[in-house]
Structures are given as structure tokens and as C-alpha cells.
């Protein structure tokens, strides 16, 4: 318990005993406007997210939908498999099957810096409080949390380390750039 944070307040079970999924997006709690659709399920009317396999199978039909669309990538699926279609998507979902599987860190960075994707990059699956700052740095801006991470903790995690040593997808100034700025300021 630090900074007013109570670990046990984080458990947010529904009356039916199921854990509630919530979405932290751009640093605030957000409505989830997307529905994840299984490969054999019929398409609902609103925003949808499908697997890469289904996207490849139903590509034309899917791209022609009159609703926001997204694709969910497994940790061994590179976003390069989406090709130019990535720009037609509103959301790319990156799966963390196990928090130790760090491939999604590269996929997120690649979506931002190579593919120039500006839509939502959402992390789902098993990740830890201690990874949130890295996830944001590589370009993930939405986090599906299951009561294991509160908004307060999310914000705390982002503030643990003030400055960074290397560039990533977040465009933050690195310590080297800050040093240069300091030297320039001294010259005036």
C-alpha cells in the first residue's frame, strides 16, 4: 500500500462472480465499442474485432462493413501480415498469452514506426503492472484489464521512471536529447 493505493480494492467482481473486463485507453477508463467475434460467429452490427485468420478468409466482406473494424493478432503473428489493409482498421489487438512473451512489444512498435498505424493498439491477455510503462512506450494505447490493474495503478506505473534512455514509438525525448537541451540552455 503506497500512494493511497489499496491492493484489495482492485478486485472488481460482478455479482455473478465473473471478473469484469475494463478498458483503459489513453490514460482514462473508456467504453469498449468493439466486440470480439469468434471465427465461426455471425457478425454483429457494431464495431468488431476478428482473428487474423478470419480477416484473411473474409477480407473483402470485412473491409466493406459499415462499422469500425479491428484485427486480433496472436503473439507469433506479425502486423506485416496485414499489409496496407492495416490503415483501414480502427484497432489492432495484440495478444499477450503469457507476460514473458515479449513479441507484442516489437509488433506494437512496428505498427507505429514502420507501418505508420495511428489507430488504437490494444493489449489483451496476461501482462503485469510492471510492464505497463514499456507497453505505452512501444505504442500500445489501450489496455484490457480484468480488475488486476486499476486506473490509479496504471497512472502510478507510468510515473515510476521519469526519463528514458532510448527512443521508441512514443516520441519521448531521450536523456541524451535532454542533456543537449540543458547544454543549449546554459549557453544562453
Amino acid at each position: 500500500m503506497r500512494d493511497g493505493l489499496t491492493i484489495y480494492e482492485r478486485s472488481t467482481r460482478e455479482p455473478d462472480g465473473n471478473t469484469r473486463m475494463s478498458l483503459i485507453k489513453n490514460g482514462i477508463m473508456a467504453e469498449d465499442h468493439f466486440q470480439s467475434v469468434a471465427d465461426d460467429e455471425p457478425m454483429p452490427v457494431n464495431g468488431t474485432i476478428v482473428s487474423l485468420a478470419r480477416f484473411h478468409r473474409d477480407r473483402e466482406e470485412y473491409l466493406a462493413r459499415n462499422a469500425p473494424i479491428g484485427v486480433r493478432l496472436k503473439s507469433d503473428e506479425s502486423p506485416e501480415a496485414l499489409g496496407e489493409d492495416v490503415h483501414r482498421l480502427s484497432v489492432v489487438v495484440l495478444e499477450f498469452p503469457k507476460f514473458r512473451d515479449g513479441r507484442a512489444f516489437s509488433w506494437a512498435r512496428m505498427l507505429r514506426t514502420r507501418l505508420g498505424f495511428t489507430g488504437e493498439i490494444r493489449a489483451v491477455g496476461h501482462f503485469l503492472y510492471d510492464q505497463l510503462a514499456f507497453m505505452k512506450r512501444v505504442g500500445i494505447d489501450a489496455f484490457e484489464v480484468q480488475g488486476n490493474i486499476t486506473l490509479e495503478e496504471y497512472r502510478r506505473a507510468q510515473g515510476e521512471i521519469t526519463d528514458v534512455y532510448q527512443p521508441s514509438a512514443d516520441g519521448r525525448k531521450t536523456i541524451r536529447q535532454l542533456r543537449l537541451g540543458r547544454v543549449a540552455a546554459l549557453r544562453f
Binding site: R2, S78, G102, S106, T113, E160
Partner: protein
């Protein structure tokens, strides 16, 4: 030496607070051991057989007297009074309590030290030639580059959850003293035909159960491009390295399965993009700024040869022997590089007591020595010593039990902690090292044998570098009994090679005799001043095998 500015200082402080919070959550039960494990490992904290072990980073092996005193303080206050220097130039403490670790890290931060990335599946602490900045055969001091890499790799958001650990080493001399070709990535500072300095980059070297010598993946990378190149290598590895089997997860396996050509193509593809973005360009001014920190001391114009040094050599046989064996050629006349052996006869390789650490710090102050180095061979090095001071320094080292004249000789043994500490080990390493050291204690005999590197690992993970030993010893477990396999002909130097297994393992009470028979075979077979390694390479394993297994009930 590199000095922290306000950014580095704040960073390390915040990192300590971050780890303190992780420890609190573990102690409260909020984090499971499974979740805590990678977090503690990224801060150098292992759970071993009997206790936690904290591995503290000594970036590129360089320490000040102040830092040495802090290590002594930690050994006294939080541990059992000693520390253990490792084959990656770090120091580890074997008995800290989990609740104390954040305080240890806080103490370390006051002397600009930390335990960042000394373990875990991330880019590990960067190592470098321990004679950096002093060696006569050096093109350029590798430490500025190592520091640039250290900063880039510190909490790198994309590469903190790699398939497996990732070790980088940097060397800048004709002789490879950093085991470059056994690293995941190594950088060798080279000159091209036009006389410009640049970097040759190796990838895919490593030991463990599948040893490989690294391949050149970048022939001549420009200095300003090195971080872009390394980031490219890391991307290829993070995206494609195997995650289904931890024994096949190192980059060496990826390089081997893709083939060198395809590996190079993929790296080039990523490199071209990063280079074009210029986000990781290292400007000349930045290289110069970091290099300034590593400027050598102002060397005095000293008499060379030094009369004091020569007089002591004539007067004192012990000093004479020590100076023959433990000194290396310095680039400045009248100076020498001193190896302080942490391999006393019958001792534990790499251990140093808090009294020794404190006394060494005092000795550094007395003789105006700003830095001391940790070598990957588990010794310490004083890089810039006036030869005229050597008699007094030797006398002080002798009082401290630190003047064993065996650098590079048969008793200068590398050994992993083995089954005495490590829960991965199959067999003990330290007692074997101790008994070998006792067997070959006679200095005259050691010097007659000459350069011979024995390296002992207590399991297939090869922390004791047995694959790269002129004589490598691997401890294995056969139905609960410790056996020791011999390998001959390995080298971790510029002539890197992987040792070949001689035959079936020897029992705990046979291995020392077997090594002695191997050494005797060399003494019989050698021609002229041929080293052990060269004789093995020339005559092959057969004569050694015959002799080592002579009298065995069955023929190999």
C-alpha cells in the same frame, strides 16, 4: 571513469524505488513467485539453493576505490563478509535477505552502482576488455562504446522480455581478452584499409549446451550507426527467436537455423529502416562526450626501465616471479598493468573478503590509482601502475593474500559456483578447482607448464566457460553421483574454438589425476615453447586420451 549526471542519478534512484515496490508486493503476496521472478531477475536477484543471490553490475568491469569500499560494506552488513567476482565482470553476494535488497540497492546508488539487467531475459550488463585504456595492443578503448550501449539498453522497452538472456561484449585490441566470439553479440573495434576506425559485429556465439563461435554479421559498421545496427539485431531476435524451448532460445540457435546469409539479410533489412529514421544515430559529439569520461590518467614521463623495479627484481625472488607472471605490457613507458590474482592456492576462485576489498581501496588511494578492473577470468586488475611503485604494491598485496603469482597459469582456474550454491548445478565446481590448484601449487612446475587455462562448469549451462578452456571440465550427474568430463582444445581468445570431449567422465576422486596425466602428456609432446593449446591442436586428442584413460578396464 563514467560519472552519473542528474539524469542518471534520478533514474537509478527511481529504479530502486520501483524495485522496492515490487518486493513489497511480493512480500504481501500480491505478486506470485512466478510473476516476481522475471522482475527480480532484471534487478540481479536470484533464488539459489540456500538463499537469494544478488548480482551487482560492474559495467565493463571498472570500479573506483569508493565503489570498492561500498562493496566491502555490503559484504559486511548484508552478507557473510565476502563477495564473488563472476565471469561477466560482475560481483555477486550469496546471502542477502529479500527484505534487505532494496536497501542494498539504495546504498549502491550512492556510489553510482546498481544491479540492473545482471540477469533475466534482457540485454545484460555489457562487458569489455579488462585491460581497456592501458593495453599496448589496443586500437581504441572499448569502454565508451560499452557505456553508450549500456545507456541504450537500460530498460529498453522493446527488449525487456526477450526469448532468453542477451550478452554483449566489446573489445578493441589485437588480443581478445573479452571472449568476444562466445557472446550473443560482440563488437570488435577495427580499422579499415583507409585507416578509419569502425566496428566489426559478431552474432550468435555462445556456450551452454550448444556452443557456437559467433559469426560476423556486420563487417564494418560506422561508429554513428552502431546503436541502429544493434537495435536491428535485437528486433530480428525478439521477433523470431524461439520461445517454445528455453534450450533453443538463444540467438545462436536462430542464427544457425536461418543460416548466416539470411541472418545478415534480415538484420540489414531492419538496419536500413532504423538508419534512415536517424532516431538512433550516435553523433560524433556524443561519442566524444562519453570518451572524455574515460580519458586515461596523465602519464608521467618515467624512467624506463625503472631502477627501483629492477633492483627489487634482483633482491626479491618472490617479487621477481610475481612480476614475471602477473604484469602485462602497458602502452605508457614506465607503467605496467597488474593482475591481482583471486586464485590463491586452494582458495575459491573469484572470492574476495570485505577486508581485502577495503584494503585494496586504501592501496589505490595510497598510490593514486583511480580505478580497478574486474576481469572475466575472475581476477582484479590495476590498469595504470608506475613500475617504480610495484615493489611496495606487491608487498602490500602479499600481506593481503593477493599476490599469488599465477595469472594465466594452470592454477588461474575459472570455476562457476556449482552445486555449493547454484540450484541449476549437477556437480560441485569449487572443490575441484581447489584440489587442482593444490595439486599444481609448485610455482616452478606451473611456470614450466606455461599458459594453460582450466575452466570448470558444474552443469551444461557453462557459466564456468568450460567449452573455451584449454582444459575444460564439465560436471555431470550420473544417478546421483558427480562425474567430470574433460574437454581439450577450447579457447576464448582471438583464436576462439570449442573444446572437444576426451571421453567418458571421471569420478570426483579421479579427475585431478586425469588432468595431471593430460598435462604430463603435453610436457612430453610439446615442441619448443609451444603452449598446451597449440600442442593439442597439433597432435590431436589421441595421445591425451590414451594416457588419461591408461589403466581403465575398458578401451575407449
Amino acid at each position: 571513469m563514467y560519472r552519473y549526471d542528474e539524469f542518471d542519478a534520478r533514474f537509478v534512484k527511481e529504479r530502486v524505488a520501483q524495485f522496492r515496490y515490487q518486493v513489497e508486493r511480493r512480500l504481501s503476496g500480491e505478486l506470485t513467485e512466478d510473476e516476481f521472478k522475471p522482475l527480480r531477475l532484471m534487478n540481479g536477484l536470484y533464488l539459489q539453493l540456500h538463499a537469494y543471490m544478488l548480482r551487482i553490475a560492474v559495467p565493463y568491469g571498472t570500479l573506483s576505490a569508493r565503489q570498492l569500499r561500498m562493496l566491502a560494506h555490503i559484504a559486511r552488513k548484508y552478507d557473510k563478509g565476502y563477495g564473488h567476482f563472476t565471469t561477466r565482470q560482475n560481483i555477486q553476494f550469496n546471502w542477502p535477505k529479500l527484505v534487505d535488497v532494496p536497501d542494498i540497492l539504495e546504498d549502491l546508488a550512492t556510489v553510482e552502482m546498481h544491479a540492473l539487467q545482471t540477469s533475466g531475459n534482457c540485454i545484460r550488463n555489457v562487458t569489455a576488455d579488462h585491460f581497456a585504456g592501458a593495453a599496448a595492443d589496443e586500437i581504441e578503448d572499448p569502454r565508451p562504446l560499452a557505456e553508450i550501449i549500456r545507456q541504450w539498453s537500460t530498460l529498453h522497452p522493446e527488449f525487456a522480455y526477450l526469448p532468453r538472456k542477451f550478452k554483449i561484449a566489446v573489445g578493441g585490441a589485437e588480443h581478445d581478452r573479452a571472449a568476444l566470439k562466445f557472446h550473443d553479440v560482440a563488437i570488435e573495434i577495427v580499422k579499415n584499409a583507409a585507416g578509419e576506425t569502425g566496428y566489426r559485429v559478431y552474432a550468435g556465439g555462445g556456450m551452454g549446451r550448444t556452443p557456437y563461435v559467433g559469426h560476423v554479421v556486420g563487417d564494418f559498421v560506422a561508429k554513428s550507426d552502431i546503436l541502429a545496427f544493434l537495435e536491428a539485431v535485437m528486433r530480428v531476435y525478439n521477433q523470431s527467436g524461439r520461445r517454445d524451448n528455453i534450450y533453443k532460445a538463444r540467438i545462436k540457435i536462430l542464427v544457425n537455423s536461418l543460416g548466416l546469409e539470411e541472418t545478415r539479410r534480415q538484420i540489414e533489412h531492419e538496419f536500413a529502416e532504423i538508419r534512415a529514421s536517424r532516431t538512433l544515430e550516435v553523433p560524433q559529439e556524443e561519442i566524444a562526450r562519453i570518451t572524455d569520461y574515460f580519458a586515461p590518467p596523465a602519464f608521467e614521463a618515467l624512467e624506463n626501465p625503472s631502477p627501483e623495479f629492477e633492483a627489487a627484481r634482483n633482491a626479491d625472488a618472490n617479487f621477481c616471479a610475481w612480476s614475471d607472471v602477473n604484469l602485462a605490457t602497458h602502452r605508457a613507458p614506465g607503467y605496467a598493468i597488474v593482475t591481482i590474482s583471486l586464485k590463491p592456492i586452494g582458495g575459491v576462485p573469484g572470492d574476495a573478503s570485505h577486508e581485502q576489498l577495503d584494503a585494496l581501496a586504501d592501496l589505490m588511494d595510497t598510490f593514486g590509482l583511480a580505478e580497478i578492473r574486474v576481469s572475466h577470468e575472475q581476477n582484479l586488475v590495476l590498469p595504470h601502475v608506475r613500475k617504480k611503485d610495484l615493489p611496495a604494491i606487491h608487498a602490500r598485496l602479499a600481506e593481503l593474500g593477493l599476490a599469488t603469482p599465477n595469472a594465466g597459469l594452470v592454477t588461474d582456474i575459472i570455476a562457476c559456483p556449482g552445486l555449493d550454491y547454484c540450484d541449476l548445478a549437477n556437480a560441485r565446481s569449487i572443490p575441484i578447482a581447489q584440489r587442482l590448484s593444490e595439486r599444481f601449487a609448485d610455482l616452478k612446475r606451473q611456470r614450466d607448464i606455461g599458459e594453460l587455462k582450466i575452466k570448470i562448469s558444474g552443469c551444461i549451462n557453462a557459466c564456468g566457460h568450460h567449452h573455451a578452456g584449454h582444459i575444460g571440465i564439465l560436471g555431470v550427474d550420473k544417478k546421483g553421483v558427480e562425474f567430470y568430463q574433460l574437454q581439450l582444445g577450447g579457447s576464448g581468445a582471438e583464436d576462439a574454438s570449442i573444446g572437444e570431449i576426451l571421453g567418458p567422465g571421471f569420478g570426483e576422486h579421479e579427475i585431478v589425476d586425469a588432468v595431471e596425466r593430460v598435462v604430463d602428456t603435453y610436457l612430453e609432446k610439446r615442441e619448443g615453447s609451444e603452449r598446451f593449446l597449440d600442442t593439442v591442436r597439433r597432435v590431436g586428442l589421441e595421445p591425451f586420451k590414451e594416457r588419461a584413460y591408461a589403466g581403465w578396464a575398458y578401451h575407449i
